[in-house]
């Protein structure tokens, strides 16, 4: 048998790969291990206890019974799903218009995306005063509107690229063939940008799901999403690592699943194109 020589490139490749894996998977591993540990194991100094311990569900039990976990999970779901749907309703036609007719000659598109260029907290104060005056603080609608404010610009920009990739000739050919604008969008354009729509909604959804700053500033009780609840385990007297890890373990699960499922689309989304030379 021929012995395969391991080259320096291969060694380098694996070192980098392992570093990336540790950086990415380390925190995830810590969260899932901690979530199933008892308090004594979490604070145990011995290294062996960090990996080898008796799993327990007590953290989850406390989370579900002593805290309004399901209420805040429900808030997160409502806010992220509704805001994502509304964002797509606004961004799809906007992006199509920018891509096809160069609406606003490029300036309008730039202004739209520029709302994402300054730190979000800059917008917090004016929004806070506005929301206080019209009674939107600590409401689902309030948070949905805020998430739309941030995601519409991002989604429009992303979708703009996908629409731009659809060759205008395809639409013109269909126009000549006697199809109407709506039919063309439905039968020609949307099927082609479907991967783009999927990725964009996934990104919006993930952003909204993870959003903390505005949720922290604009909610107290009724509309409080999971991110804020989880942060509250970090109290001034003690840090409840176990409960926090249990909350995070559940909170990130849907995102991990979405990212996994979307992988295929993300790759397709980057490579599709209908006109070839």
């Amino acid at each position: 048998m021929i012995k395969k020589k391991i080259t320096n490139e291969e060694i380098g490749f694996w070192i980098v790969t392992i570093i990336v894996l540790i950086v990415v998977l380390g925190p995830l591993l810590w969260i899932y291990l901690t979530a199933f540990k008892s308090a004594s194991d979490i604070f145990s100094g011995s290294l062996s206890k960090q990996i080898l311990f008796t799993p327990t569900l007590e953290n989850f039990k406390r989370l579900f019974t002593e805290y309004p976990f399901f209420a805040s999970l429900f808030n997160t779901i409502i806010i992220s799903v509704v805001s994502t749907i509304l964002v797509m309703v606004i961004s799809l036609p906007a992006a199509y218009s920018f891509a096809r007719w160069d609406t606003g000659g490029g300036h309008l598109l730039f202004v739209t995306i520029s709302t994402r260029m300054f730190p979000g907290v800059v917008a917090a104060l004016p929004f806070f005063l506005l929301f206080r005056n019209i009674g939107l603080l600590d409401t689902h609608i309030g948070l949905i509107l805020l998430h739309m404010y941030f995601n519409v610009s991002f989604a429009t920009f992303l979708l703009y690229g996908f629409f731009k990739d659809v060759p205008v000739e395809l639409e013109q050919a269909a126009l000549i063939d006697g199809y109407g604008r709506i039919d063309i969008l439905r039968r020609i354009v949307f099927p082609l940008v479907l991967p783009g729509i999927a990725i964009t909604s996934a990104f919006c959804m993930i952003w909204s799901w993870n959003e903390f700053l505005f949720a922290f500033l604009f909610t107290r009780d009724i509309a409080r999403p999971m991110t804020v609840l989880i942060s509250s385990f970090w109290g001034s007297i003690e840090v409840q690592y176990g409960t926090m890890a249990a909350g995070v373990a559940i909170a990130i699960l849907p995102i991990l699943i979405v990212a996994w499922v979307m992988q295929r689309y993300i790759i397709r989304g980057l490579t599709f194109g209908a006109v070839k030379g």
Binding site: P167, L175, V275
Partner: protein
């Protein structure tokens, strides 16, 4: 139907870039008209204005005498085959071809018959079930052509439909396009930058350059009576030779050679105002007769510099024995004399093949009919 009239149409982009300048022409009912010109000459813009995909900045487009400026593409009942194919990649070849018929709500049975007929004519029958992405460029282009032709439109517009096919298939499909045109009895406007296609397919050719009409006429007209230097050079392969000369009298010109002044006659006459001025003489490489030796009035000598063997003919690059030592091309048909480099070549510039162009590059010979 239908006759197409373009009356003084202009296409102005962004308020100041002129795409098409004051274009007027007529394409008669059942005519096959080619729009020929270099890239960026305005061919596709013209076609797109006829199709209704682009707004007409000024002027009128009439189909059968009716103004269609304000009608959308669907209302004009035209077919257009795109250079980029514009196929629907999610649909099979069959569905792509059937797509225009589906919009009209034609029964499945009729759709099937028509798709199969056109597929037969364009050699697509074996690939109807495939998807466009699985096909090579030439096939995709044929599918696009089939989709355009299946509709029995009033006017068929073809935008460089053969540009991505290989040479052999091109010749074959060319013949099909012509026969489909005749079968359907419709009017076809064909955009191309390939003069061989235009010459072999069309009844008349319209030549555009920089968005301006240069000449419109039959192949014979354009080849033998080009109205300006651009047309003279653009049509014909290799293009026409141009040599500086002086007008001696309304019916002859002279060239300075090492043996002194040589006088050349031409058929027709020029306006006497040109006498004494320096102008350009044009003569096609294919129309220069190569003779055994000099002596006759219209014979020029030159040294062969480059010999290109083309199979069916040879193309010589000859340094002319005039004071400018200009290089011209001469086509030697198959069976003619074989030249070597640095050999002397005697060329007969026959009067009927001489063209003259003034400073503004306009043809100036008034031919006697």
């Amino acid at each position: 139907m239908s006759r197409v009239d373009c009356k003084n149409i202009w296409k102005i982009y962004n308020g100041n870039v002129i795409g098409i300048k004051d274009l007027t022409f007529t394409c008669n009912d059942k005519e096959f008209l080619a729009i020929l010109g270099p890239s960026g000459g305005g061919k596709s813009s013209t076609l797109r204005m006829l199709a209704g995909l682009e707004e007409i900045s000024k002027g009128e487009v009439l189909f059968d005498g009716k103004k269609v400026n304000q009608l959308g593409p669907a209302k004009r009942n035209i077919a257009l085959a795109f250079e980029s194919y514009a196929l629907y990649y999610r649909l099979s070849v069959y569905e792509n071809i059937a797509f225009p018929l589906r919009a009209k709500g034609i029964s499945n049975k009729d759709v099937d018959k028509r798709v199969k007929d056109i597929a037969e004519a364009l050699n697509l029958a074996s690939i109807l079930k495939k998807r466009p992405a699985e096909l090579a460029g030439g096939y995709q282009q044929r599918v696009s052509l089939a989709r355009a032709l299946i509709r029995k439109p009033n006017l068929t517009l073809l935008d460089e439909p053969l540009s991505h096919m290989d040479q052999r298939i091109r010749a074959e499909i060319r013949a099909h396009i012509r026969s489909i045109h005749e079968e359907l009895g419709n009017t076809t406007i064909y955009v191309t930058h390939d003069q061989a296609e235009a010459i072999s397919l069309c009844d008349r050719i319209l030549i555009l350059n920089y968005g301006e009409l240069q000449q419109i006429g039959t192949v014979d007209d354009i080849y033998n009576n080009p109205v300006n230097k651009f047309v003279a050079f653009f049509v014909g392969e290799p293009g026409m030779n141009f040599i500086k000369c002086t007008v001696e009298s309304p019916d002859n010109v002279s060239l300075q050679t090492s043996e002194g002044k040589k006088i050349f006659g031409f058929s027709g006459a020029v306006n006497p105002k040109y006498v004494g001025s320096e102008i350009t003489m044009g003569i096609r490489p294919q129309q220069i007769g190569v003779v055994e030796h000099g002596g006759k009035k219209s014979i020029m000598s030159g040294l062969v510099k480059i010999v290109e063997f083309q199979g069916d003919n040879d193309i010589l690059t000859v340094e002319l024995d005039d004071i400018n030592k200009i290089r011209i091309k001469v086509v030697i048909p198959a069976g003619g004399k074989r030249f070597k480099r640095e050999e002397t070549c005697w060329m007969d510039f026959q009067p009927e093949y001489i063209h003259l162009f003034d400073e503004a590059e306009k043809a100036i010979i008034e031919r006697r009919s």
